[in-house]
C-alpha cells in the first residue's frame, strides 16, 4: 500500500497554526494538531511533535502567547492564543501564500489542460 498523504510544505506549518488559532480562538497543542488533521482530511501527515516545536518558535516571535488553563474535560493544559502581532503576520502570510499559490496554479494550468 502506498501512502498518498503529503508531508507538510516547509514553512507552512506556522501559517496553519496561526490560522487555526484565528478561527478557533485559544486552543491547546493537542487541539491544534487535531484541528489541522481534520481540516486536512488525512491528506497530509502531521507529526504532532513538530507542532510543539512550531509553538515554541511562534511564542518566541511573540506572534502567539501561551497560558495554562483547564481543558473541556477538566484537564490542566497550555492554551495558545493569537497576539496582535500574530494577527498582522497571519494577514501578511495569507496574502503572500495566495499570491504564490495563484502563480503556481497558473503555471501548472496549461500542462494540466493538454
Amino acid at each position: 500500500m502506498t501512502d498518498t498523504r503529503s508531508p507538510i510544505l516547509q514553512g507552512t506549518l506556522d501559517l496553519m497554526v496561526l490560522k487555526t488559532l484565528e478561527q478557533m480562538g485559544p486552543l491547546h497543542g493537542y487541539g491544534i494538531a487535531r484541528r489541522i488533521e481534520q481540516v486536512g482530511q488525512d491528506a497530509i501527515v502531521v507529526n504532532q511533535g513538530t507542532i510543539y516545536l512550531c509553538l515554541v518558535r511562534l511564542v518566541q516571535k511573540k506572534w502567539i502567547r501561551a497560558q495554562w488553563g483547564t481543558s473541556e474535560n477538566n484537564r490542566k493544559a497550555k492554551f495558545y492564543s493569537l497576539t496582535a502581532a500574530g494577527r498582522r503576520q497571519l494577514q501578511a502570510e495569507t496574502e503572500s501564500w495566495e499570491r504564490v499559490s495563484g502563480v503556481i496554479g497558473r503555471v501548472l494550468q496549461p500542462a494540466a489542460g493538454r
Binding site: H28, K61, K62
Partner: protein
C-alpha cells in the same frame, strides 16, 4: 530584525531557565498524551491501544525534548563551553605543544600588541580637555621639504583676526629656563610655556588660585608674571595659600606669581610654568634657538577640520618678508593638535604607514603559526580514532573542525593575554623613556594604559593565529578518507606529513641555524658591558651635563662671546669643585666615557676592509677630553705621549687612541705617527679627501675596561663644546655632592644649567635597562624559533615512525637489528634535515661575512657557528629521541596484527 532580536532575547531567557521550561514542556506533553488517549478511547480503542497510538502520533519523546530545548535556548553556548573545557584539557595534556606553540604565538602576537600600543599612544591621542578633540594646530607647511616652517607673526595675527572657522587662536613656544625660587633654593632647568593668554581660554580650565594670563601681560612693558602648576605650588611653595605675589626666578628674570592652575593641568604639552608670549607682539614667533612656536586654535562650533582647512587655504599666506628659498612650496594647514605634536608628518602618509606596518605585523603571524599548524596537524592525526568514533556517533565534520579550532583558540587566547601584559610593559618602558628624554615628562594627553583598540587588535590577531594554526590543519586532517571510511578506528593511520609540511620543517631548521649565531652575538654584544661591568669604580664618579640657558646665550651679541662666557664659567666651576673637600678630581669632556658617539674612520695606509665604509672594523667612538681627563679616571698611558699644552689650540691635529682601537684597526704595527680621518660622523658622510687628517700621538688603556670598540680622543679646551659633560671623582658620598654641585653652579652663574646629575654607575645602569630588555626579547624570539624547530623535527620523526610501524615490525620479526631498521627508516628524514642544516650554516656564514653584527651592536664570538651547529644537532637528536624510542618499542606481532 526586531523579530530576530525578540527571538534571541527569548532564547537567552530560555537558556537560563532551562529547568523550569523543561518541566513545563514535560507537563504539556503529558497533557497532550492524556487528551489523545481519552479521545481514542472514546472512539472505541482499548486503553492500551489508545495509549500506544497516542505515543506513536506524538513521536519520540526524548528527541522531542531535545529539539525543544535546542529551540528554546542557545545550544551553541553549551557546545562552546564544552569545547573550551576540552581545549583547556588538551592544553594540559599536550603540554609540549602548549609550551612551544604558546611561546611562538606570544612572540608574534606580542610584537603586534606592542607595535599597535605604541602607534595608539603616539598617534591616537585626544586632548583630555573640554571638547579636546576639536583643538587643532595651524602650521606653515613646506610641501617640497615635507616639514614645518616658522609661522610669521603677520600670518599668525591675520589667522587670529580673519578666520571664522576657528576660535581662541593663540600660540606658544616651549623653552627651558633655570629655576630658582626667591628663597634661594637651587634649581634645575624646567620647561616653561611662553603662551598667549588665549591658551587658557582654549583650555577652558579655571585657575585654582589667582588668575590665568591675560592679554595685558603680553605687552612688552608689562611686568613679568608667571602662572604655576599645582605640583610646583605644592613642592616649591609648600602649598602656601598666599603664594600670589611671591616671586620665581626663571633664567635671568624674576617673575611674580599671579595664578596657580589645578592639578593635572599641563597644556600645551607638559608644562607647569606659563609666562606670557611677548614675542608675538615684538616680531617673530620662533625663538633664538630655532624653536618654532606652535599656533593652536579650537574649531568653531559646527565646523569640521576640512572646513577649517578650506578657509585657511583660501586665506593663504602673506608673502614672506624675506624672499622664500627657491625650493620651498609653502601653504598653511590645519591638523589635529596631538597629531601635529607627534612630528612633522603628513596625516595621509602616516595613516598609510600605520596601515602598512599593521599589515606587516599581521603577516608576521604566518610563519610561526604555520609551524604551530604542523604540530597541531601532527597531534590531530594521532587523535584520528577519537574523531572517527565521534563522526560515527553522528558529529558533523563542522562540529569536529569547530572543536579543533576552539582548542587552538584557547592557546592563542592565552598567548594574547601574555601579549597584552607585554604591551603594558612596553608602554611603561615608553613612559620611562619619554620621561627621561623630555624634560618635564610625557605630554599630558598621552595615555599609557592599554586602549580598547589595542585589546581588540590583539583579539583579532589571536583569532587569526587560531585560524592559521588550528583551522587549516583541522580541515586537512578531517578531510577525505578519515571520515568517509572508518579505517582509522582500526588504529592504523594512513596519514603522512605531506611534502609541504616536510619542507616547512626543513626550512625551519635552516632558519634556526642561520639566525642562531647572529642572535647569540647580538645578545652577547648587548649585555656584555653590563655583565662585565665598567672595570673601574664608576660609583665614585658624579656626572652632569653643563649647559647655558638659551635665553642668556641668545642675549649675547656674537657666538664667540657666549663661548668665552661658558669657558670662563666652566673653568671656574672646575676650579671650585676641585677645591671642595672630598673631591679628588674634576674633568670636562664632550661625552661620558663609554657612551661616546660613533663614527666611521679611515686609517692612513690601512686599506678599507671589504664591505667599504659599512665594515664594522672602521666603526669607532670619539670623544673630546680636557687635560686632566685621563688622570681623573686613572687611565694609564701605554705608548707615545699624552696631550701637551700645544694640543689644546683650536686647529691641533693630535689624537689619542685606546688599546682596542689599535688592536682592531692597526694590528701589530706601531700606531704612533699614523694618520686617521673621519669618513662618516653622526650619520653624515664626510666628503672623501676633504676631511682633516689627525695624527695618533699616544695610546691609552680602554675606558671602560670592556669597551665596545676603539675610541679616539681629541683635546678639548674649556668652552669648545656645548653642552659639556662634567665628571667629578668623589668617593662614596656622591649624592651629597650633587646638592653641593648645584649650589656652586647657581652661585657662579644663574644661567648655567645642570642636567642629568647622576652617579656614573647610574648612567650605565639606566642604559643597561633598555639593553637588557632588547637582549631578553631577542633571546625569547630565538628560543621560540629553536623550540619550533625541535618540535618540527619531533613531529617529522613521529610521522615517519608511525607510518612505517608495520615495516619495522616485519623487519624486526625477520631478525633485523632494531637499530639498523631505525637508521634505515630515519635516513630520509635525517637527509632532509641535514640538507636544511647545511643551508642554514651557509646562510649564517654569509650573514656574518656581509652583515657583521658588530655594526649593529653585536660582539664577535669566536667559533659561534660550529657551536651553534653542534647545539642544533643535539637539539635535533633530542627531538628525534622520543619517536625513535617509540619505534624501537614496536612489537613485531602487534605491528603485523595491525596490518
Amino acid at each position: 530584525m526586531a523579530t530576530f532580536l525578540r527571538v534571541m532575547m527569548a532564547r537567552l531567557r530560555g537558556h537560563f531557565r532551562r529547568g523550569d521550561l523543561d518541566r513545563d514542556f514535560d507537563q504539556e506533553l503529558a497533557a497532550h498524551l492524556a487528551m489523545a488517549e481519552e479521545d481514542k478511547v472514546r472512539r472505541g480503542m482499548t486503553r492500551e491501544e489508545a495509549r500506544r497510538a497516542a505515543r506513536v502520533e506524538l513521536g519520540g519523546l526524548t528527541q522531542l525534548r531535545e529539539a525543544s530545548r535546542d529551540a528554546r535556548g542557545l545550544p551553541w553556548i553549551d557546545t562552546l563551553w564544552l569545547d573550551l573545557k576540552l581545549g583547556l584539557r588538551m592544553l594540559r595534556k599536550s603540554w609540549g605543544l602548549t609550551l612551544v606553540g604558546g611561546l611562538a604565538m606570544t612572540v608574534v602576537i606580542g610584537t603586534g600588541a606592542v607595535v599597535f600600543a605604541v602607534f595608539d599612544l603616539v598617534f591616537d591621542g585626544s586632548l583630555p580637555l573640554d571638547d579636546g578633540d576639536r583643538v587643532v594646530a595651524l602650521q606653515t607647511w613646506d610641501d617640497k621639504g615635507h616639514r614645518r616652517r616658522d609661522t610669521s607673526v603677520a600670518d599668525f595675527e591675520r589667522w587670529r583676526d580673519a578666520l571664522a572657522s576657528v576660535e581662541d587662536v593663540g600660540a606658544f613656544r616651549a623653552v627651558e629656563r633655570g629655576l630658582a625660587t626667591a628663597d634661594g633654593a637651587a634649581g634645575e632647568p624646567v620647561p616653561v610655556a611662553e603662551t598667549t593668554a588665549s591658551g587658557f581660554e582654549l583650555a577652558r580650565v579655571a585657575p585654582l588660585l589667582g588668575r590665568p594670563l591675560v592679554e595685558e601681560d603680553e605687552r612688552d612693558a608689562a611686568d613679568p608674571v608667571v602662572v604655576i602648576g599645582y605640583d610646583v605650588w605644592q613642592s616649591r611653595f609648600a602649598a602656601d595659600p598666599a603664594v600670589i605675589g611671591r616671586t620665581v626666578r626663571l633664567g635671568d628674570t624674576v617673575h611674580t606669581v599671579v595664578g596657580v592652575m589645578p592639578e593635572g593641568f599641563a597644556f600645551p604639552i607638559n608644562h607647569r610654568f606659563w609666562t606670557p608670549l611677548k614675542a608675538a607682539r615684538s616680531g617673530s614667533l620662533p625663538d633664538g634657538d630655532g624653536n618654532t612656536g606652535v599656533v593652536f586654535a579650537r574649531l568653531a562650533p559646527g565646523v569640521t577640520l576640512e572646513g577649517a582647512e578650506a578657509e585657511l587655504a583660501t586665506l593663504g599666506l602673506l608673502p614672506p618678508a624675506v624672499a622664500a628659498e627657491s625650493d620651498e612650496e609653502l601653504r598653511p594647514r590645519v591638523l589635529p593638535y596631538t597629531f601635529a605634536m607627534a612630528g612633522d608628518l603628513e596625516h595621509g602618509d602616516v595613516l598609510w604607514m600605520i596601515r602598512i606596518v599593521l599589515l606587516a605585523v599581521t603577516l608576521l603571524l604566518v610563519p610561526p603559526c604555520a609551524n604551530v599548524a604542523i604540530l597541531i596537524y601532527a597531534r590531530t592525526v594521532t587523535r584520528q580514532e577519537e574523531f572517527a568514533a565521534r563522526y560515527a556517533l553522528g558529529a558533523s565534520r563542522g562540529r569536529i573542525v569547530g572543536q579543533l579550532f576552539i582548542e587552538t583558540l584557547v592557546l592563542a587566547a592565552g598567548a594574547a593575554g601574555v601579549a597584552l601584559v607585554l604591551a603594558r610593559f612596553a608602554l611603561r618602558l615608553a613612559r620611562a623613556s619619554i620621561d627621561q628624554s623630555l624634560s618635564g615628562g610625557a605630554p599630558f594627553w598621552m595615555d599609557f594604559t592599554l586602549s580598547v583598540e589595542t585589546v581588540l587588535f590583539v583579539a583579532g590577531l589571536a583569532v587569526l593565529a587560531a585560524v592559521i594554526a588550528g583551522l587549516v590543519p583541522a580541515l586537512k586532517a578531517t578531510g577525505g578518507q578519515m571520515l568517509s571510511g572508518l579505517r582509522a578506528l582500526s588504529g592504523r593511520t594512513g596519514m603522512r606529513l605531506g611534502a609541504t609540511w616536510t619542507a616547512l620543517v626543513v626550512a625551519q631548521v635552516a632558519l634556526s641555524l642561520a639566525a642562531l649565531p647572529s642572535a647569540v652575538e647580538m645578545v652577547w654584544g648587548t649585555i656584555r658591558k653590563g655583565v662585565l661591568g665598567p672595570g673601574f669604580a664608576a660609583e665614585e664618579f658624579l656626572t652632569a651635563r653643563l649647559e647655558m640657558d638659551r635665553e642668556s646665550r641668545a642675549g649675547l651679541a656674537d657666538p664667540p662671546a657666549a663661548a668665552v662666557r661658558f669657558a670662563a664659567v666652566q673653568a671656574e666651576l672646575v676650579r671650585r669643585l676641585t677645591a671642595e673637600p672630598g673631591v679628588s678630581g674634576a674633568t670636562v669632556a664632550a661625552a661620558v666615557p663609554g657612551e661616546e658617539p660613533w663614527a666611521v674612520i679611515e686609517v692612513d695606509g690601512v686599506p678599507l676592509p671589504d664591505g667599504g665604509i659599512f665594515a664594522a672594523h672602521n666603526l669607532v667612538r670619539f670623544n673630546r677630553v680636557d687635560d686632566v681627563f685621563f688622570d681623573v679616571f686613572d687611565v694609564p698611558l701605554l705608548a707615545g705621549r699624552g696631550f701637551g699644552a700645544g694640543d689644546f689650540e683650536r686647529a691641533a691635529a693630535a689624537v689619542l687612541v685606546n688599546q682596542t682601537f689599535v688592536r682592531d684597526l692597526i694590528g701589530d704595527a706601531s700606531p704612533l705617527g699614523r694618520r686617521v680621518r673621519y669618513l662618516r660622523k653622526g650619520g653624515v658622510p664626510a666628503e672623501p679627501g676633504s676631511s682633516t687628517w689627525y695624527e695618533i700621538v699616544g695610546v691609552v688603556a680602554d675606558l671602560p675596561a670592556h669597551a665596545t670598540g676603539g675610541t679616539m680622543y681629541h683635546p678639548l679646551a674649556p668652552g669648545q663644546t656645548h653642552p659639556a659633560s662634567l665628571a667629578l671623582r668623589a668617593g662614596s658620598d656622591s649624592a651629597g655632592l650633587a646638592e653641593r654641585l648645584r649650589e656652586i653652579a647657581m652661585a657662579l652663574d644663574p644661567a648655567l644649567r645642570l642636567d642629568e646629575v647622576l652617579a656614573l654607575d647610574e648612567v650605565y645602569r639606566e642604559n643597561e635597562v633598555g639593553n637588557n630588555v632588547g637582549a631578553l626579547s631577542l633571546a625569547v624570539v630565538m628560543l621560540s624559533v629553536l623550540l619550533l624547530s625541535a618540535a618540527g623535527i619531533c613531529a617529522l620523526m613521529s610521522f615517519t615512525v608511525n607510518r612505517r610501524r608495520r615495516e619495522i615490525g616485519i623487519r624486526c620479526a625477520l631478525g633485523a637489528q632494531p637499530h639498523h631498521v631505525l637508521s634505515g627508516i630515519f635516513r630520509r628524514a635525517f637527509g632532509q634535515l641535514a640538507a636544511g642544516a647545511a643551508g642554514g650554516i651557509l646562510v649564517a656564514a654569509l650573514l656574518s661575512y656581509y652583515l657583521p653584527v658588530e655594526a649593529v651592536g653585536g660582539w664577535d664570538v669566536p667559533g659561534v657557528i660550529p657551536a651553534a651547529t653542534l647545539f642544533m644537532v643535539m637539539v635535533g637528536l633530542l627531538a628525534a629521541a622520543g619517536p625513535a624510542r617509540r619505534g624501537l618499542r614496536v612489537e613485531p606481532t602487534e605491528a603485523l596484527r595491525e596490518g
